[in-house]
């Protein structure tokens, strides 16, 4: 199911460079609608990359990353609306909050040996506790949420021109890719995948599993929280129902699992595929309304998910590299 990491080579570098050029030029080529789409696609690619660190590499299958997402969104937004702190700074505070939450979860999970699907359930529980708490807490907006002002204030990460948001999210994606790549080729990365594969065997081989889990979850959470800040600044509205919803969490996971968990580019590929296909479906001359197209897209994604898990266990990227080496779970 998880694919083996591969270190980049010259061909990859050229491809990457071309992609980079295209991506930087995009705002000039797209109209407002597609630019918004690009920003959204970028955000989901970014969040999938963040989730991948914890779920794809360390095997910490968290269903509660929205908690970190919310931590970032609410921290930076409240700092801005209440104390006029620029979200450029606030996002680091948000990252800190996310990391803190992650550390608490990781320490408790290790202490009480909460692993595997029980860990996943525990993360769900965290979100299910957080949402009603935020809903009833009026000083942080309660269930009505918080609105951000619609103005142009670059110093406060507010732009009227979408292109700037685009560049910010592209930058964030680049950072996430870089962080993933650096971790993957470092001792932390090796240790993380060892834990994912077999925690006990890893430990007797010298892997400090508790520490590695804390680190991977904290890094993943901090980055996710920054994504939360970006979300708030772009959509200008946060609310517990949305920010702690099941949908965002699913999107983080689905993109990664289909694209290739435990790879650097997998989450981006999977997530972008989802975003692009959704748009393509709407453009098809079938006369589907956007809502119906979205439903059909999710239907297709369910099928893709099942098919990938059965026949392409390493995800799309795993397939391309280890097609010969990895036998499918199901013999067709």
């Amino acid at each position: 199911m998880f694919q083996v990491r591969r270190l980049p080579n010259a061909g990859t570098a050229v491809l990457t460079a071309t992609l980079v050029v295209v991506m930087l030029a995009l705002p000039a080529l797209l109209n407002s609608y597609y630019l918004t789409l690009a920003v959204s696609a970028g955000l989901w690619a970014y969040l999938s990359l963040c989730w991948n660190l914890s779920g794809g590499y360390a095997g910490l299958f968290s269903f509660g990353h929205t908690a970190f997402f919310a931590a970032g969104a609410y921290t930076s937004t409240l700092l801005y609306t209440e104390l006029a702190v620029s979200p450029w700074l606030g996002m680091f505070a948000g990252a800190g909050m996310g990391a803190l939450l992650a550390l608490i979860i990781a320490v408790l999970a290790v202490r009480y040996r909460i692993r595997g699907m029980y860990f996943s359930l525990a993360t769900v529980a965290v979100v299910e506790i957080l949402r009603p708490v935020l809903d009833t807490w009026s000083s942080v907006g309660g269930s009505t949420g918080i609105l951000l002002p619609l103005l142009n204030s670059p110093g406060n990460m507010l732009f009227t021109q979408r292109a700037y948001y685009y560049y910010v999210i592209v930058g964030l994606v680049a950072v996430a890719i870089l962080v993933t790549w650096m971790i993957a080729r470092s001792r932390l990365g090796y240790y993380a995948i060892a834990i994912r594969e077999d925690e006990t065997a890893a430990e007797v081989s010298g892997v400090p599993s508790a520490r590695v889990k804390r680190q991977m979850l904290a890094i993943s959470a901090a980055l996710t929280a920054i994504g939360g800040t970006f979300y708030a600044q772009f959509y200008l509205f946060i609310q517990p129902e949305i920010v702690l919803g099941w949908d965002p969490q699913m999107q983080m996971i689905l993109g990664t699992m289909v694209g290739g968990p435990g790879t650097v580019a997998g989450p981006v590929v999977g997530s972008l595929a989802f975003s692009i296909l959704t748009e393509v479906l709407q453009l098809l001359p079938i006369g589907w309304s956007p809502e119906i197209a979205a439903i059909v897209m999710r239907l297709i994604w369910g099928v893709v998910l099942v098919a990938v898990m059965l026949y392409l266990p390493g995800g799309l990227l795993g397939m391309s590299i280890h097609a010969r080496k990895r036998a499918p779970v199901a013999r067709a």
């Binding site: 998880f2 083996v4 001792r187 065997a201 890893a202 430990e203 007797v204 081989s205 010298g206």
Partner: protein, 239 residues
């Protein structure tokens, strides 16, 4: 120099006493065979030595330092390496990655660790299989991988749990020939049922039954002890 001093180790699992006051010493560089029927407590002993299980009472001293109750990774850092009875390779990782993880115990820089891992892989004869995934290896190759990963972690004391189990005669001879070249001056504890190997590899042997060490001494002495023969009665003996 005493590499390992085990004193009065006891472990109870829900009414079953798996270890009942195990005590013995292993000197530096010794290769000690641990024999006994299934259920005698041999693997439990290894589990306490590598830190997977915490003993109820008793002490384990590695070169004078008390290690019972320490976390497994600390024990590995201090110098105990472990190969499991039923191999536990990292299935979705390549052989190289498997062994690199072991090598990282001594060499924190990933690139250097990979190099070291490559060397160890070549030593155990898996050099050409470096890019094969753990799950694609046969049993005998998995045994070698397990060995390589443990060796790469730079142990002073190596715990081998039935490293010959599941191998055919040819593979057993191969392994018996290979092991001494790999372990050199390392201290080794071998749990084994293949008597021939115990006789060939070990300088000393201990016999365990029902959680206690009953006989100890030169391998040929131990294997000819009436109590030991009794417990193996009915099982095939290789001389």
């Amino acid at each position: 120099m005493t590499a390992l001093r085990i004193e009065d180790l006891r472990k109870r699992f829900k009414g079953v006493e798996a270890l009942r006051g195990v005590s013995f010493e292993v000197a530096d560089g010794e290769v000690v065979g641990i024999v006994g029927a299934n259920g005698a407590g041999k693997t439990t002993l290894f589990n306490t030595l590598s830190g997977i299980i915490r003993p109820d009472t008793g002490s384990i001293r590695l070169h004078g330092q008390e290690i019972s109750g320490l976390a497994p990774h600390m024990i590995c850092k201090l110098g105990i390496g472990r190969a499991f009875q039923i191999t536990r390779p990292f299935l979705n990782l390549t052989c190289l990655e498997n062994v690199t993880i072991g090598a990282l115990n001594r060499e924190p820089r990933a690139a250097r660790a990979r190099e070291r891992a490559m060397t160890v892989l070549a030593q155990v004869g898996l050099g050409d299989k470096a890019e094969m995934l753990g799950r694609d290896l046969s049993v005998s190759w998995r045994k070698r991988l397990e060995l390589a990963r443990a060796l790469a972690s730079g142990p002073k004391v190596l715990l081998l749990d039935e490293v010959l189990a599941g191998l055919n005669e040819l593979e057993i001879n191969e392994m018996v020939r290979l092991l001494p070249t790999l372990t050199n001056d390392m201290t080794v504890l071998i749990i084994e049922h293949v008597i021939q190997a115990v006789l060939q590899l070990c300088s000393r042997a201990v016999f365990m039954q029902a959680g206690a060490v009953l006989v100890g001494g030169a391998p040929s002495e131990v294997m000819n002890d009436p109590m030991v023969i009794d417990s193996y009665l009915g099982a095939e003996r290789e001389c």
